[in-house]
């Protein structure tokens, strides 16, 4: 046992791994050493002195901090003898010299490590009677975080998090001696995408969140573990509600996904659940009066009558379904079955013309796990800016590059959050990615060094679409290249909530549940189980919208979809929606698109229903219910079940759990995935096997780039805070969207005569807008960057051809 050493902790002889910190070793064997500054995911600093223990050394007893002392063979440690107890009392008495003890009004009161430690290890009373130091009570250091410097015990958890983990060192210690306190830099708010994590790890109430401030106390919270549905990483969260209102989300430290961290979008983006704008009754639209509230039976009867007429006339070919990525797997399966069996259509798509080929996303072989990043020697990120679109994945990649020594190659048209940790960064103009890929494959030109960095395996490739001006097939070509690298694994990136689950449930024109291809071998058994399937070739979102705009679609279902805002070509979406004679929306809000719907059904959303979701590595995890839906909302499966019955088909859905059993029976990839296992044995989720019926191994590397004619190309990409429905209805986040703007390289701006202009006119084939100019010298020359779906921005379309002129 050379990798283990023997230590004696409080008289117990223990075998512990060599090199482990004393505080960890003791905790693993049931001896809790009190601590404030030490955090298992960050480097030790020994700031708070709370973890002092006594070591027996040849020179007599020595007092050391357990969080900075690695175990060594034969070590004898005392954690609770008289000396240590005196130390602990002294440290706590010192910490309380300046701590204000306003526990009754502090958001941390009741769950505060300082309170708990004082109760457990502290002195009965303090000898200090002097006036405590005073600061102005909470000062907002960002839109989301408040700082109360009086309460701070200077543990450096927040500063270390910002520096080591998130890479936005915007919060620091200032002043000296007795005056040391936490501060942000002048005129620079703590505007990190991860600022909420510092609130969670603060051992006192010095950092508090505006969204939770005075909303509840720990003893009136109900909590349930669930999975975040904002991005596709499948972050484990602790969902907390007070009096039937979701008030807080905390990250849960699980090794496979988020390691305890969350982005602010996930942490504070729960407010839309309790928004007063939520739909609470079904609506039908009247030509004169707009939407009027009706009963469920009226709305269902109307929808069933109109759909029945269309199905009897022109059949399932003229019915289409958009959306479903916001649903749980159970609801997505219900929607998939409803579309295929009741509507008889394959015009089904959960992606909003902003993703990749569904076969590629769902059925890629050699799919990586997120945890593969930890052991990777090289990582290639050729896809969206992870910091903006996959924030917790960004933290994982960052850690791999910064702490674990992986070589990181980032390819993107503009700067990304990972650039400062990238070994090699390559930029290119959207549409010319194929040229750069050819160079990278050959290891020639400016990509030669990057190619060398990728020569040593294991390699993990994170591939996706960098922006909407990009040909989606480029990602497949990049994946094909990654597959030629040693020991390579691939994570295909898509952004929309539960998109992987939706695709696995068959919400794509070419897929059936369990990654079975439409018309493929496995389709027969699904047809048997379902009693029939649609046969005609299906259209994807773009195809559906084009067909609708041409008048070929007579009924359009929007399920949690807002194509007017989500589809890059918003103008096409508007033409389509205005042309379709009958639009049915199942939604939580009246979005721009559901405002045009003839019938709107109100549905239960996140935190209001149970189900499963699948993350980007194929991990199935449970989402749980903590609050009831507002008003008369119902789960999506139950709405579809009722509608099917009115159309003369029994889908036989009894409950979400019954549907999950049906999925386990029908969908090959989901065999054996049951709620019982997810709730008990496999709390961290079950990874369904990669690949599918038609596993995607080979993809052409000679992808044609959609090259723009002009000298400027548009790079249209998402940022974390946009005008999407969940952000818009979460008051804490709504104001954080950076706003519509056109980003130009200073050289391009000068060339176009816009060097000193305030605004510019941006024209693409699909739209135009006048936007304020921001100069950005990290852009590749000739790239015009516009963040997608910002408040007040008209749809521009994906480009990539664009002209920019003075306004």
């Amino acid at each position: 046992m050379s990798d283990h050493v023997t230590v004696t902790i409080d008289g117990r002889k223990l075998e512990v791994p060599a090199g482990e910190l004393l505080i960890e070793a003791a905790q693993e064997h049931g001896t809790y050493i009190p601590r404030f500054c030490w955090h298992p995911r960050m480097k030790p600093v020994g700031m708070c002195r709370m973890c002092l223990v006594e070591l027996e050394t040849p020179r007599g007893p020595a007092i050391v901090t357990a969080c900075t002392t690695p175990v060594s063979d034969g070590m004898v440690v005392h954690t609770r003898n008289e000396t240590v107890q005196r130390m602990q009392e002294g440290v706590l008495e010192f910490l309380l010299i300046n701590h204000p003890l306003d526990c009754p009004v502090c958001d941390r009161g009741g769950e505060c490590p300082l309170q708990d430690h004082v109760m457990a290890y502290g002195p009965g009373e303090s000898r200090f009677v002097e006036e405590k130091r005073h600061f102005e009570k909470p000062i907002p250091i960002s839109e989301l975080v408040l700082l109360d410097r009086e309460r701070c015990i200077l543990c450096a958890r927040c500063t270390r998090f910002s520096e080591e983990i998130s890479g936005d060192p915007l919060i620091e210690f200032t002043d000296r001696g007795n005056g040391v306190h936490i501060a942000t830099f002048p005129d620079l708010p703590f505007s990190s995408y991860f600022s909420g994590n510092t609130v969670q790890i603060c051992p006192v109430g010095a950092l508090t969140a505006t969204a939770y401030r005075f909303r509840a106390r720990p003893w009136d919270l109900e909590a349930v573990e669930s999975t975040c549905m904002h991005c596709t990483a499948g972050d484990r969260i602790n969902l907390q509600a007070s009096h039937n209102e979701v008030v807080r989300i905390l990250g849960v430290d699980v090794e496979p996904t988020n390691q305890g961290w969350l982005s602010d979008r996930c942490r504070f983006g729960f407010q839309y659940v309790g928004s007063p704008d939520r739909l609470t009754v079904p609506l039908i639209r009247d030509a004169e009066q707009g939407h009027t509230e009706v009963t469920w039976s009226e709305a269902l009867d109307l929808a069933a009558t109109r759909i029945g007429e269309v199905l009897a006339g022109s059949g399932g070919q003229s019915v289409a379904v958009l959306g479903g990525a916001r649903l749980t797997n159970e609801d997505a399966y219900a929607l998939s079955k409803f579309a295929r069996v009741v509507l008889g259509t394959n015009h089904v798509d959960a992606q909003m013309d902003d993703g990749l080929d569904p076969q590629f996303l769902a059925a890629t072989v050699d799919r990586a796990l997120i945890s593969d990043l930890d052991s990777a020697k090289a990582i290639l990120v050729w896809g969206p800016d992870l910091k903006e679109e996959h924030p917790t994945l960004y933290l994982r990649v960052r850690r791999a590059a910064q702490e674990l020594g992986a070589a990181l190659v980032v390819v993107h048209p503009r700067r990304t959050g990972l650039d400062d940790r990238a070994t090699h960064k390559l930029t290119y103009r959207p549409g010319e990615g194929a040229d750069l890929l050819t160079e990278l494959v050959a290891g020639s030109g400016r990509a030669s060094q990057a190619r060398q960095a990728l020569a040593e395996g294991p390699v993990v490739g994170l591939v996706g679409r960098t922006g909407y001006g990009e040909d989606p097939r480029l990602a497949e070509a990049v994946a094909a290249f990654v597959r030629t690298l040693p020991d390579a694994r691939i994570l295909p990136l898509a952004r929309r909530a539960n998109i992987y689950g939706a695709l696995d449930m068959g919400l794509a024109p070419t897929l059936l549940p369990g990654r079975v291809s439409v018309g493929g071998e496995g389709a027969r058994s699904i047809a048997e189980a379902w009693g029939g399937l649609a046969e005609h070739p299906g259209l994807d979102t773009r195809g559906i919208l084009e067909a609708a705009a041409a008048g070929d679609i007579e009924v359009l279902f929007l399920v949690g979809a807002d194509p007017l805002r989500d589809v890059p070509d918003g103008a096409l979406a508007r033409r389509a929606l205005e042309r379709v004679p009958f639009v049915v929306a199942i939604d939580q809000f009246l979005t721009d698109s559901s405002r045009l719907a003839d019938v709107v059904f109100c549905a239960d959303g996140f935190a209001e229903k149970e189900g499963t979701v699948t993350n980007l590595e194929g991990r199935v995890q449970k989402v749980n219910r903590i609050v009831p839906g507002p008003g008369q909302t119902r789960p999506d499966w139950s709405i579809l079940d009722d509608l099917a019955r009115r159309l003369g088909v029994e889908l036989g859905f009894g409950s979400a759990e019954a549907i999950s059993k049906e999925i386990a029976d029908v969908a090959p990839a989901y065999r054996g995935v049951t709620w019982d296992r997810l709730d008990w044995e496999e709390r961290d989720g079950i990874v369904v096997p990669d690949g599918g019926e038609a596993p995607l191994r080979f993809v052409p590397a000679d992808t044609p780039g959609t090259r723009a004619g002009g000298d400027l190309v548009l790079h249209l990409a998402r940022v974390m805070y946009d005008d999407g429905v969940t952000v818009r209805h979460s008051p804490s986040l709504a104001g954080l969207a950076p706003g519509a703007a056109v980003h130009l390289h200073p050289d391009d701006a000068a060339r176009l005569g816009l060097a000193s202009a305030e605004t510019a006119r941006v024209v693409t084939e699909q739209g135009e807008a006048t936007l304020p100019i921001r100069l950005d010298d990290t852009l590749h020359r000739g790239v015009v960057y516009v963040p997608f779906n910002q408040p007040g921005m008209p749809p521009l379309g994906p480009g990539p051809a664009v002209t920019v002129t003075p306004a």
Partner: protein, 209 residues
């Protein structure tokens, strides 16, 4: 014989009290509501939310009372004090404060839990209501008026005694486990520091100058 002697013993008590009441002495019952009996000092009547003498509410909305309540009859929501027009000293005040008197078991654990002596119990016990909703006392009904009187369904209630309410929180301190009998009958009102009215520490340059 035993039965008869026991019966005789009992009837003797009845006879004695009956005779005494004839001459008007030693009556244990009173003719409520014509007559009131003085309640013992520690009687647990309905709650009241106290104020500081400057009119500020003592309640800071910390929900410790709601947490301590074994009947779960208290509902409190806190909110931020407006810095220029605060309801209570400090950052937080009780924005909603409701007690469901039908659920309340008058155990006074809320009084013990309160860190600011904001909630105390009175000798008022007449709380008849005509609906369940009415039994939920809201903050308007619980909060003492600035003049020290209590909003109560029976304004002429002789127990709505201003002078008693003034010392009610002193009584809490007198009977608390860590308190002292010296506080009995003492006004515990104190001047307040106001909300977040601490001046920030001077910076190093100012301090050294």
């Amino acid at each position: 014989m035993g039965v008869m002697s026991e019966l005789w013993k009992g009837l003797r008590v009845t006879g004695r009290i009956g005779l005494r009441s004839l001459v008007g002495r030693g009556i244990v019952t009173t003719e409520y509501p014509k007559e009131f009996r003085t309640k013992p000092q520690r009687f647990h009547g309905r709650h009241v939310l106290n104020r500081y003498p400057d009119g500020m509410e003592k309640c800071i909305g910390c929900e410790l009372c709601a947490g301590a309540c074994p009947a779960q009859c208290i509902y409190v929501r806190g909110a931020d004090n407006a810095p220029d027009d605060p309801n209570s000293p400090g950052e937080r005040f009780g924005y909603v404060y409701e007690i469901n008197m039908l659920r309340c078991i008058f155990c006074a654990l809320c009084v013990e839990a309160c860190p600011t002596e904001a909630i105390t119990m009175t000798h008022l016990f007449e709380m008849s209501v005509t609906s369940r909703e009415e039994a939920i006392y809201t903050k308007e009904e619980l909060l003492m008026r600035p003049d020290g009187t209590v909003p109560h369904p029976r304004p002429d209630d002789p127990y709505a005694d201003l002078s008693e309410l003034e010392v009610a929180d002193g009584w809490v301190r007198a009977t608390a486990p860590s308190g002292s009998a010296a506080y009995e009958g003492v006004k515990m009102w104190q001047d307040t520091a106001g909300p977040a009215s601490w001046d920030p520490e001077p910076d190093q340059e100012t301090r050294d100058a």
